[in-house]
Amino acid sequence: MKRVIVACGSGVATSQTVASKVQRLLKERNIPAQVDAVDIKSIDMYVKTAAVYIAITKPEKEYPIPVCNGIAFLTGVGMENELQKVIDALR
């Protein structure tokens, strides 16, 4: 199963909120994927095994996988757009 990672400051609260939400949304659309919340301090390690990275903060460098905007899942603004980007990246 492809992996989606969400990173925030500690990998506990904010990223887990987004991760749970994305997991739910993907499940509703019958798209299999594992969504994990990770802490941003170790991001380089996690990027290696993920298909897409949902960022809560502005990424400061290029990553080898597609990066999506996680804030959209918290505010609801532009959420459908970002979700589509995640789905496309999982194909």
């Binding site: 500690s10 609260a13 904010t14 909120t17 919340a37 809560i56 903060t57 505010t75 603004v77």
Partner: protein, 455 residues
């Protein structure tokens, strides 16, 4: 009446791992979750408590004896072990009245939005635990539930005002429009602001340091397992343990700090459907109105200045913990001092040098408050049976957020005149902060206009 009392007592006596899931299931059903979802969330909370208890017990069992040796060898008393915010959050959720903070938070936000006293919609319901903690401290100190909720309410109101006035600065730092942070740690800015103004008179304070480069070089030290290993091994060295013992302790420390956040995630997973439902509810109530969305502090985690500050403060916090008289706290799981770095980021506008200086100056405040609340927090852990604290040891949080507010208002709630004065002074400083930031926002707006950035 007595029957109801005894039923409650019966449930509470079963300890947090049982009664909190029960409360969660009830609350879940109230917000119309399906029974199996509510049950699942509730049970996950129970698992989270047991998990947290296991890790804290493990940490205290491994670091504790070494810390005692350390005390014997050096004569320095450090009895209260720092379990970090994840341990505190677990304790907060174990407070029987914890879930009442949800409706209080929502109610205050809705009222303030309606009377136009704020422009921020707080969707970060997870951080409600940050209001439960001061309430718990107030109850312990003053024995008054009512005052506990009043202090919590004051905090919620101040948070929303802070979120409003910080929005522009946060936007400048994160480049994210339309959001702000309602995280309670921003309240520490009230204490930092006047100190920052004093720094204006010190030459050389506006020197720019490249945080990105420093982060690349030092970043590895902030990783949980590395930090856990180093600190635990240091304790072992000072406790004059043998090399195999030091190395083992190091790995145990790494294990504790890595596992803490992993277990803590379970709390979030369990609460996320509830937090989601409430934020949807909030957003629907105010459809069409322009407001800022109040989020958790990690939106600022992309600013490397925060991480560099916390890393540089690690040895400083350890050093001060050892030399400060009257300090009883052994910094460990909470040693990454985000509680100063994030508000400092906002107050200084991202000036790394000032952030570090502010951090160094205020570290003693954190240590002393942590020392003072250790008995209260340890007691809560014991009475709610949420966390297993071995007897003779205490648990605390070395970098408790906005320690000044929490401590001052707890003592004020106890009716102590000096501290009531302190609370009034704090409110005065808050007004100063508000006015000061307003001026800054006007300047920031003018800069943007000058550069043609806003219409």
């Amino acid at each position: 009446m007595d029957i109801i009392q005894s039923i409650f007592q019966y449930i509470l006596d079963m300890g947090a791992p049982v009664f909190v899931p029960l409360i969660m299931i009830v609350v879940g059903l109230v917000v119309r979750m399906k029974f199996k979802d509510a049950f699942s969330s509730g049970l996950t909370l129970g698992v989270a408590f047991i998990g947290m208890s296991l890790i804290i017990g493990f940490m205290m069992g491994s670091i504790g004896p070494a810390a005692e040796q350390f005390v014997k060898n050096t004569g320095i008393k450090l009895n209260a072990i720092d379990g970090g915010w994840t341990a505190m959050a677990a304790l907060a959720w174990a407070w029987p009245l914890a879930f009442l903070m949800f409706p209080l938070q929502i109610g205050i936000n809705l009222i303030m939005l309606a009377i136009k006293q704020t422009n921020t919609l707080n969707v970060d319901l997870w951080n409600v635990w940050g209001k439960i903690l001061p309430a718990v401290i107030v109850v312990a100190v003053s024995k008054s539930m009512v005052l506990a909720f009043i202090v919590a309410a004051i905090q919620m109101i101040v948070e929303l005002k802070m979120a409003d006035i910080n929005q522009k600065q946060i936007q400048k730092l994160t480049q994210i429009p339309g959001v702000t942070s309602t995280h309670s740690m921003t309240l520490f800015g009230v204490l930092l602001y006047p100190i920052n103004r004093l720094l204006d008179f010190v030459p050389g304070m506006n020197k720019h340091i490249d945080a990105n480069w420093l982060k690349q070089k030092l970043g590895v030290f902030a990783e949980n397992h590395i930090m856990g290993f180093i600190i635990a091994a240091l304790i072992g060295i000072f406790a004059r343990l043998s090399i195999p013992e030091i190395l083992t302790l190091g790995v145990q420390g790494a294990a504790a700090l890595t596992l803490f956040p992993m277990i803590s995630k379970l709390f979030m997973q369990a609460l996320s459907p509830l937090s989601d439902a409430t934020s949807e509810f909030m957003k629907r109530r105010f459809k069409g109105r322009e407001f800022h969305i109040g989020l958790d502090w990690p939106i600022m985690a992309g600013c490397n200045e925060v991480w560099v500050t916390t890393i540089i403060l690690i040895p400083i916090m350890l050093g001060l913990a050892v030399i400060l008289p009257g300090n009883n706290v052994l910094p460990f799981a909470g040693i990454i001092n985000l509680s100063v770095a994030v508000p400092a980021l906002i107050v200084t506008g991202g000036n790394l040098l000032r952030m570090i200086v502010l951090g160094i100056i205020t570290t003693p405040v954190f240590l002393y408050v942590a020392t003072n609340i250790a008995p209260i927090v340890t007691d809560l852990a014991k009475t709610t049976k949420s966390v297993d604290v071995p007897s003779g040891q205490m648990i605390t949080w070395s970098t408790i957020e906005y320690p000044d507010f929490r401590y001052i208002f707890a003592r004020a709630a106890n009716g102590e005149i000096l501290w009531i004065l302190g609370a009034l002074i704090w409110i005065g400083l808050f007004i100063l902060y508000y006015k000061g930031m307003k001026n800054r926002n006007n300047k920031l707006d003018k800069e943007d206009e000058g550069l043609g950035r806003i219409a």
